[in-house]
Symmetry: C2
Subunit: 124 residues, 2 copies
DNA sequence: CCTGGTTCCATGCGATGCAAGATACCTGGT
DNA sequence: ACCAGGTATCTTGCATCGCATGGAACCAGG
């Protein structure tokens, strides 16, 4: 996906990311603290959720503002210090919430796409 | 889900809807033309994608503006006339695009949520 | 000193969902 | 004729979010 890509497919994928990215980032921190570029690379590797720094850093700022993550600076062997992001209790709760909500949402979309007649309610 | 609901769960679901609603509405028109309130009820029935008129009508306006749907007025036996929305070729193409993109996206999110270690790339 | 790689962050724009309100049509009761 | 209630459409203003762009700081090597 090149930067200047503005095809319909890219547009659909872009809209799709909205709101989900936040929780995928939280999920990445579930095991251990991560730093910005690390998260960026993990999202890139996933393919469908690849994004840019201009998206991740404001997102991380919001997470910190809402007390979903805490941060600690840590020296790096090769490069400037890294700011590591770790889940707070609120952050873990939010992630759990999302994990509960997601399957229902996913199945609903699957139903709309799969079924020829996703049931308007009537059958007459 | 009450109107004034602002719990974390509702917030997560709201963010989730972004970008997906458009294509679910298109999917609902796949078989036959539908009118606003009909679409609204179908979304309500799905549970996870329930929304309000203030969301659906601007969305339908955008779809019409982008030539993804065409509309025709039709009398109703009980009530004011209804504006029926039908897919255009572009609309059907957009729906197909989304149908192609969605599984990859869905699986990516599933992977992030399910796996304890969604692979930062390293395995050492 | 200067180039290049790594890491962080802020600004401005466009798009989207939503609450709230406004308008119009039809039916039925008084 | 009048009014209330349900059906159906649409608009306005707000908050949020993803993203392109640009900038700043730190380290290593030539």
């Amino acid at each position: 996906m090149e930067p200047g890509d503005s095809t319909k497919q890219a547009r659909a994928a872009a809209q799709l990311r909205k709101g989900v990215l936040e929780y995928c980032v939280l999920a990445l921190m579930r095991d251990r603290p991560r730093y910005g570029v690390e998260l960026l690379h993990a999202l890139e590797d996933s393919g469908a959720l690849a994004t840019s720094q201009g998206t991740v850093y404001p997102l991380l700022s919001r997470l910190r503002r809402d007390d979903l993550v805490t941060t600690t600076w840590q020296e790096s062997a090769s490069g400037p210090p890294r700011r590591y992001y770790a889940l707070t209790d609120s952050g873990r709760a939010a992630l759990d919430e999302f994990t509960r909500v997601w399957p229902g949402f996913r199945n609903a979309v699957d139903a709309f796409l799969a079924t020829p007649h996703p049931s308007t309610g009537d059958l007459a």
